[in-house]
């Protein structure tokens, strides 16, 4: 779905791929087998922990957890074998390059740092730092003054609207 939406973004004026029919891709993506295995493990763990719940009747609390876990395991097995049957990923495509390009890594690190800083520095300081660093990094160090200004104005508007107009409590 996502690739198709990217496709739409690129080819706004061009032809459009028909998404109403699913056409599997010829090559599997780097790490696709690993993802199927992880999903299977999630289902297996879900089932394993559901064994501790009360069971024995058709209306026991464990019925749906077991059912959902079984569906996850069965579907993951199908996903795994479907992926195996497809061609290997291109030699140039590495798992790290596909999963975590530098921009994504930086943003995730920033997000985690932001979450950790929130209870200590509170909303305004930590959000301002997150926005400024994020904008400056994503604009590759250009327009630092613009980033400082946009962050300040956006934050001021957000605080005014949510804290004072809508009376929402901020972290």
């Amino acid at each position: 779905m996502e690739e198709s939406r990217e496709f739409l973004a690129e080819g706004a004026a061009g032809t459009v791929k028909d998404l109403s029919k699913y056409v599997p891709e010829a090559r599997r993506k780097p790490g696709e087998l690993g993802m199927a295995v992880l999903m299977f493990l999630l289902g297996a763990l879900g089932y394993y922990f559901a064994l501790d719940m009360t069971s024995g009747e058709y209306s026991s609390p464990s019925v749906f957890p077991k059912l959902a876990s079984t569906v996850i395991m069965a579907c993951s097995a199908v996903n795994f074998f479907k992926a195996v049957r497809r061609e290997k990923p291109e030699a140039a495509a590495t798992l790290k390059g596909y999963l975590l390009p530098m921009d994504v890594v930086v943003v995730v690190v920033l997000l985690v740092a932001y979450c950790v800083a929130l209870p200590r520095l509170h909303f305004v300081a930590s959000s301002y730092a997150f926005m400024v660093i994020g904008m400056v990094y994503l604009q590759r160090g250009k327009n630092i003054v613009r980033a400082l200004l946009i962050s300040a104005v956006s934050l001021a508007v957000l605080v005014a609207v949510f804290r004072y107009l809508f009376l929402v409590i901020l972290p």
Partner: protein, 497 residues
């Protein structure tokens, strides 16, 4: 009759109520557009500071926020692929590709027009058929709600996109995650591992913000530097011909929305998804293939979730049973103001019924004006470079998540769901089915178990109920139809392939 008309005219004759309705709609649009800031939250905040107000004024403001808020959720779904509320998930499936083509203005314009139409359908049904529908909705047993949830789960095929097996996997993961926490019927802890935060369960709104908001931002950062599409804002208001073209679908979906909204415990989110699925199955020649920006895929969910507003008031005003969370809060407001919601409400205070009908009608007109006026500024949002807009979106997601229950832990969950959602998208597991699983999981679990307990844990009596009860039989046949309609045999027969 004459007296009812007098009651209906009260808000029209009070400038204060008029202003409050318009302010409510305006505020609702913006609150609804922020993921996590829900209409429910806005209504509950309003109750606290309208406590000392006159009831009429309080109701005017809340009705305005309700109508505006449900609409606002769709704006961010269309512009940024981040639904402001679960009821807008289906809208984003078609709306976002349209925005990527530069047609955000036209999409929001159509969304506004059909939304107003559907609000009026809901209001008309509320005014003429409220008692009949309310009594019918009371006949729904746990087995029927279970069947309704099964119908919802079958939508995975519609909103999954791409590989159906991966869609089912994601949906099942959502159902599994919805089981986390204290079992509401026995109090037993499921998947909590001794963690106190997990006892309350995982909020599907938190998951939705992470899976749609943060994962969308991360996915966008993969393409940093790519220019946002220029939006064409020449023709925002759809022509009469366009409106008439979508009229049959609008009527069908609005009525579906009214009915689903009238069922206690189900609301605009389920209605919108069911209507989207129904459109996908029945529209023979969509403006574009579904999934690539079909206008029918915006009309159906938008009319359904607006129809559900009028629907939600039906059991509330006639029986004192809330149709959804917002009407539950309004019931609270009525109690605060000394009224007793219940079957006698319409008999003892008929003015209240007609005043709410009137407030909703004015709010719908206000929505038309304010919605169309806001199209241009909204559509401009998408042209802001993503290096600037995405950090702001993340901050909004944080505000929205924290506001749910003032918990920093929820923000961690939200970020975690964002990262999981990002990986899922990369491997073709759509995030929509996972949210659907989280929404419908508790409804499936609780109603199945209630129905089974009603059949004294015997499989045969439980299954018998599906064919002996008329409502259950109808829903079972509808599910069979949904399954059959997915087969290529049926699609060829109907000329859909």
């Amino acid at each position: 009759m004459e007296q009812n008309l007098q009651y209906f005219l009260i808000p029209f004759l009070s400038w204060e109520m008029m202003v409050l309705i318009w302010v409510g709609v305006f505020a609702g649009i913006w609150v609804g557009a922020i993921p996590g800031l829900s209409v429910t939250m806005a209504a509950s905040l309003l109750i606290s500071f309208t406590f000392s107000w006159d009831l009429n004024s309080a109701l005017a403001l809340i009705c305005g926020v309700f109508v505006g808020g449900v609409y606002g959720g769709s704006i961010t779904a269309i512009l940024l692929n981040i639904p402001g509320a679960p009821a807008a998930i289906a809208t984003g499936i078609e709306g976002y590709p349209l925005a990527q083509r530069g047609e955000a203005g036209k999409a929001i314009g159509l969304c506004t027009t059909v939304s107003v139409f559907a609000s009026f359908v809901g209001i008309i049904v509320l005014s003429v058929a409220a008692p009949v529908i309310a009594n019918f909705s009371l006949k729904f047993s746990p087995r029927d709600f279970f069947l309704l949830a099964v119908m919802g789960i079958l939508l995975i095929g519609s909103i999954g996109g791409g590989d159906p097996i991966k869609g089912i996997t994601a949906g099942a993961v959502g159902v599994l995650l919805s089981m986390v926490g204290m079992d509401p019927s026995t109090g037993e802890l499921r998947y909590t591992f001794g963690n106190i935060y997990l006892m309350a369960g995982i909020s599907f709104v938190t998951a939705m913000i992470g899976l749609f908001g943060v994962s969308e931002a991360l996915t966008q950062f993969r393409n940093a530097g790519k220019k946002s599409p220029k939006q064409n804002l020449d023709r925002i208001i759809p022509s009469w011909a366009t409106f008439l073209k979508y009229l049959p679908l609008s009527i069908r979906s609005s009525l579906l929305g009214v009915f689903i909204g009238a069922l206690p415990g189900t609301g605009g989110d389920v209605a919108a998804l069911l209507a989207y699925d129904q459109a996908k199955r029945t529209v023979r020649h969509p403006s574009r293939p579904f999934g690539t920006g079909a206008y029918e895929g915006i009309v159906a969910p938008e009319t359904a979730n607006k129809g559900a507003i009028g629907g939600a008031f039906i059991p509330m005003l006639t029986l004192g049973i809330p149709g959804d969370a917002v009407t539950a809060i309004i019931i609270g407001a009525l109690y605060i103001h000394g009224l007793k919601p219940g079957p006698m409400l319409m008999i003892e205070t008929p003015h209240l019924f007609w005043m709410i009908v009137s407030c909703l009608s004015i709010a719908s007109v206000a929505l038309m004006v304010l919605g169309l006026v806001s199209v241009k500024p909204f559509a401009k949002i998408i042209e802001i470079p993503k290096e600037i807009i995405m950090p702001v979106v993340i901050i909004l997601s944080v505000i929205g998540t924290y506001a749910i229950q003032n918990s920093v832990v929820d923000i961690f969950y939200m970020i975690g769901f964002g990262i999981i959602g990002y990986f899922m998208r990369l491997y073709g597991y759509a995030t929509g089915p996972m949210v659907l699983g989280l929404i419908l999981g508790p409804m499936l679990d609780a109603n199945y178990r209630r129905a089974m307990q009603g059949a004294e844990n015997q499989l045969l009596p439980f299954l018998e109920g599906f064919v002996t009860n008329p409502i259950s039989l109808f829903l079972t046949l509808a599910i069979v139809f949904l399954l059959v309609s997915q087969t290529s045999f049926y699609r060829r027969w109907r000329g859909l392939e």
